[in-house]
């Protein structure tokens, strides 16, 4: 690892983290806004903990993200393997195009059409409809993340497994899936990103008091976003970062013990 690439990595990481540190910095501001820093306070953190409605929203947001990403990863993984196994050229490119429709469609269209869809099917708006909608728009991104890994793996392995008499089930579970692990992981992470960021789709398909952080933040925009939101984001950010570090140390030890997974 030479200095050039090391400094490149550092610069990019600073670029990516700078806005977040900026938000975190102002979460301690007595001034009440993100303009001038007047003094240090922990008030916003205190009021987040005391604010039951806000805590509910945070828990909802995390729940929706995890559940929808989990389901989207399974569906997307199956979809990607299915697309990979199709041999007819036109069928494959048609399906792949359909796959990407939701990626190109602006959120307003997705939100409005899902609202109509849920109304037709009589699905009550609330946590279920929001999770369904998030699964819907996360599946294509999972597929796009997994497909390159599939194409890249050595297809001879699959053929060899077949020749050795492995059942189709075994080929998929013992050969294919372990080979594309990074793709699956990437798909899951991107599904999380899509879910946590979404505002417009959630807005249209939510109801019965169910709300996520993004919806709350956008609704606040007219009156100015309170620093409580900065405080929440800082907490979420720190927690996620801590979990990643723990993961890093745990996997590091595993490697040292020679137990690579």
């Amino acid at each position: 690892m030479n200095t050039l690439s090391r400094s490149f990595l550092t610069v990019i990481i600073i670029f990516l983290y700078f806005p977040i540190l900026y938000l975190a910095y102002y979460s301690f501001n007595t001034g009440g806004s993100m303009t001038s820093f007047e003094g240090f306070t922990l008030d916003y953190y205190k009021s987040v903990i005391e604010n039951k409605a806000l805590m509910t929203v945070i828990m909802n947001t995390i729940a929706v993200a995890l559940i929808s990403s989990g389901f989207a990863t399974i569906i997307g993984l199956f979809g990607a393997i299915f697309l990979y196994l199709i041999r007819q050229k036109y069928v494959k490119s048609t399906l792949l195009t359909l796959n990407n429709v939701l990626i190109v469609s602006p959120d307003v269209i997705i939100g409005a059409s899902l609202l109509i869809l849920f109304s037709i099917f009589g699905i009550k708006l609330g946590s279920t409809s929001v999770i369904l909608a998030h699964i819907a728009f996360s599946v294509p991104i999972v597929v796009l993340m997994i497909l390159p890994s599939l194409y890249q793996q050595n297809s001879n392995l699959v053929l060899a497994a077949h020749d050795l008499g492995a059942s189709a089930f075994h080929v998929v579970t013992k050969v294919l899936i372990p080979n594309i692990k990074p793709g699956i992981f990437a798909g899951f992470l991107m599904a999380l990103t899509y879910s946590l960021d979404d505002f417009a789709v959630t807005f249209f398909v939510t109801g019965n008091g169910f709300s996520t952080l993004s919806v709350e933040i956008y609704a606040m925009a007219r009156r100015g976003i309170t620093l409580e939101i900065n405080a929440i984001s800082t907490v979420i950010f720190v927690v996620v970062l801590t979990i990643s570090f723990i993961y890093y140390f745990v996997s590091d030890k595993k490697i040292k013990r020679g137990k690579t997974t």
Binding site: N60, A63, L66
Partner: protein
């Protein structure tokens, strides 16, 4: 494979736990009648008042927020249940036409007596059959006297001043932007006269060197940071900004401007109609309205509450204008789909001509 199962199972499990957690946090098993679905703009009510309402009446409030009239409309049209909504006046007119509002029974709202008569029976809902005013305001000019030395922005035309090159922020709303240009020419901001509108279009084009951006809520953070010298804004937004940047001044140009209302109404999808009346009546109570006005900071149409406000607030002429100014204000009328689209097209073309 084990990796995959662990990943999926743990995310579903943790997610499920969180979802279960929120159910516990808000454990409720109440019947239909003692729940009230309220749909309002974000940060537009003192949350303490919702608690107080529940304590007084036993009605649990399910509170949701929206960020634009139009987005709220989409959900009402799809028959999503809300018992009380807070549409702006032009949306009230539109909803009335589309039969999306239920009539308000004045007998159930004795606190109507608290509302200033000037704000009742206005053109968008004569007789207040469907809506009652919640907060009101104007569209005006917010400027920084330090960077715009010598200018007092008493006329709309001052926005065209050459010294404001690339320093004017406009609202991303066709009615607001085309409206003030029409006002500057002495026309009605509800004009459906092609000639007047073409004239406005040409005048707007002359403004383009001065336009920094055409935005929405971001005007607030831009003006707080002195990023631009001048902005055409709603009075409510101006109040929020001036609260944090005390150097700024809000003014209503003498040619007149728009008078807007956010109202309380009962949508056609409502189920708890009795509760909705109780809620509206509660918000019109003198003490409740006073507390809410303190918290929200916008101008209240509640005469009884207004009298109790601090002298300083009461005397702020830019937010509670005198009779003479009030006479020049005009409420937006719903222009119907064709003219609305024409206004929007004018603004879109203007945006595309900017660079």
């Amino acid at each position: 494979m084990r990796f995959l199962i662990t990943l999926i199972a743990s995310s579903l499990l943790v997610g499920g736990l969180f979802l279960f957690g929120t159910k516990l946090l808000n454990n409720t098993s109440s019947s239909e009648t003692d729940v009230l679905f309220v749909y309002n703009w974000g940060e537009y009510i003192d949350p303490e008042l919702i608690k107080q309402f529940t304590e007084e009446t036993g009605i649990r409030v399910v509170y949701e927020t929206f960020d634009s009239n139009e987005a709220m409309l989409v959900k009402i049209k799809q028959k999503q249940r809300y018992d009380v909504v807070f549409p702006s006046e032009y949306t009230v007119e539109k909803m009335k036409k589309d039969n999306l509002l239920l009539p308000i029974d004045p007998d159930k709202i004795p606190n109507i007596k608290n509302i200033d008569e000037r704000f009742l029976g206005l053109s968008f809902d004569p007789g207040n059959e469907y809506s009652l005013p919640y907060f009101w305001g104007t569209v005006g000019i917010l400027y920084n006297p330090e960077t715009t030395t010598g200018m007092d922005f008493s006329t709309w035309d001052s926005v065209w001043d050459e010294s404001l090159l690339n320093d004017v922020l406009l609202l991303d709303g066709a009615r607001e932007t085309i409206g003030f240009v029409l006002n500057s020419e002495g026309h009605s901001l509800n004009s459906t006269n092609k000639e007047e509108l073409d004239q406005a279009k040409q005048k707007l084009e002359k403004l383009s060197p001065n336009v920094r951006g055409i935005v929405g809520d971001e005007i607030a953070s831009m003006m707080k940071e002195n990023e631009a010298k001048v902005a055409v804004v709603w009075s409510g937004m101006a109040m929020d900004i001036m609260y944090e940047n005390e150097d700024l001044i809000y003014t209503i140009p003498q040619e007149g401007t728009n008078l807007w209302f956010d109202t309380m109404a009962i949508p056609s999808s409502a189920k708890n109609i009795d509760g909705a009346h109780q809620f509206i009546n509660f918000l019109l109570d003198k003490n409740v309205a006073l507390q809410n006005t303190d918290w929200v900071g916008y101008a209240t149409p509640n005469q009884a509450a207004f009298k109790e406000l601090d002298e300083e607030v009461k005397n702020a002429k830019e937010f509670y204008p005198d009779k003479e100014t009030m006479e020049k204000l005009e409420v937006y009328r719903d222009l119907g789909p064709e003219w609305t689209e024409y206004y929007n097209e004018l603004l879109l073309e203007f945006k595309m001509s900017l660079d």
